[in-house]
Amino acid sequence: MTINTEMKVRVAQIAQVADKVKRFRFERADGQPMPVFSGGAHVIVSMRDGKALRRNPYSLMSSPEDTVGYEISVLRVENSRGGSAFLHEKLKEGDELVLSQPVNLFAHDHRAKKHIMMAGGIGITPFIAMMDQMEREGAAFELHYAVRTRTHGAYWKELQQRYGKHRVKIYCDEEKLFIPVADVLANQPLGTHLYVCGPAGMINGVLGKARELGWPKQNLHSEEFLAPPPGKAFQVRLARANRTIDVAPHQSILEALEANGVEAPYLCRGGACGQCETGVVSCDGELEHNDHFLEPDDKASGKKIMICVSRIKGNAVTLDL
């Protein structure tokens, strides 16, 4: 079941906050309050860009207590599929958009004695909301934030001012400063949890290091939303609906289904949550699994696919839909 009570919002403010990073503030078109969320939550932003309907997940970065509006920050990606280009170049203040209800796949563990967050670049966004909540809860935390240059890094000055330099540490690639992961993880009190958000290489590096240092997997958390990678066109056959739908090179299976009026379940649209798991009846070609959700043996079995980010290399795949 997809929880899909969407909210119509108006763009209340657009601000350039760093090189290639813009912040967008959304307020409800009907003036009603937004629901309170929890730090780490994201929303799906639906954008009508000409003929195309784009739906991308973005972490909420405003205070979870702010029910007047939600804020997201978006990095302008060079090889954008269209979402970040649309938001940066076409969207204007006063325009209307549709947001999903907030969903949290990256909440902090309230049993923890201490929280350590490591952010890379735009991966800072969920932590801004999380720290706001942790500060109010009186939880112990520290943030280690890696940026490419001081002008690329968003919000680091504000965060240092608000929480102090002892809790917010900045590492700048350009100055040859990197997060000293092993030093940070040494001598942390029992019951410390670690949260990582950033590029895949950083997440894997940090979590691998933590495992090597004997941190149990229950104390490790990460989030990375994937954009569905492009590929060659293929066909999707729906076994139950008895329909055949074309998937274009730059389209995900989920997007192709939606473009043809098929309502398939989804939540994060970034390969993280597992909501869109779909049974594969047969595949004329090779499944290309791009998600973070399925276990390796599930991927190898060829019986399941996450239709939000995965596709096939070949002619056609028959799904249990």
Partner: protein, 201 residues
């Protein structure tokens, strides 16, 4: 008589030494000593250099496991006279421990439950505590009526040590309390409880 097939019934995955851990903290009770000795056969004696072992013999005094454990040459070994005394020391050690310390618990279910409870109070997810059930199947059970806890319950029904009701033992388990739940079996007609069956020898 037992109410089984309840999801909360704990499953113990085995001590399985984590070779990446910087320190190893073992809390062992009775036959739980054998779980560690078996692990050492599998992974070698090196882990002992960074291991602290807490042990209470409970019903296994005659087996002299304490001598075997003391002779292993772990970084520290401490023999406790009773479970509550061991748990006190365990609590202090957890308070001083750092991430990278792997926690191991072996013995009867009642002991494992109480040790996991101590670890939980230090922010440790019970799923990351390595545990192995050894020795008696006796259970620690809470009376859901008076909240009195009876240790080493071997029968169902049993008589609550606090309020005297006849209690049916269920697989329903509370991690917070480290105890199974016992429910009055003859509430409608007191005195008609079936005979206790020895289910957890």
């Amino acid at each position: 008589m037992l109410v089984a097939g309840i999801k909360s019934r704990p499953v113990y995955g085995g001590l399985n030494v984590d070779i990446h851990a910087r320190r190893h903290l073992f809390a062992l009770e009775g036959e739980g000593a054998l779980a560690l000795l078996d692990q050492l056969k599998a992974v070698g004696m090196d882990v002992l250099k960074t291991a602290d072992i807490l042990y209470v013999a409970s019903g296994s005094k005659a087996e002299d496991h304490d001598r075997t454990l003391a002779a292993l040459g772990a970084d520290s070994f401490w023999l406790a006279p009773t479970i509550p005394v061991l748990l006190n020391r365990f609590h202090v050690m957890l308070g001083q421990a750092h991430m990278g310390t792997c926690i191991y618990v072996a013995g009867t279910e009642g002991f494992i439950g109480q040790a996991q409870q101590a670890a939980m109070n230090h922010g440790v997810d019970p799923a990351s505590v390595h545990s192995e059930h050894r020795g008696s199947a006796a259970r620690r059970v809470q009376c859901v009526h008076c909240k009195g806890i009876t240790d080493n319950v071997t029968t169902s029904p049993y008589t609550c040590s606090a309020c005297g009701l006849s209690l049916l033992v269920r697989d329903h388990y509370s991690r917070r309390l480290g105890a199974f739940q016992g429910v009055c079996i003859d509430a409608e007609e007191p005195g008609t409880a079936p005979k206790p069956e020895e289910l957890f020898p």
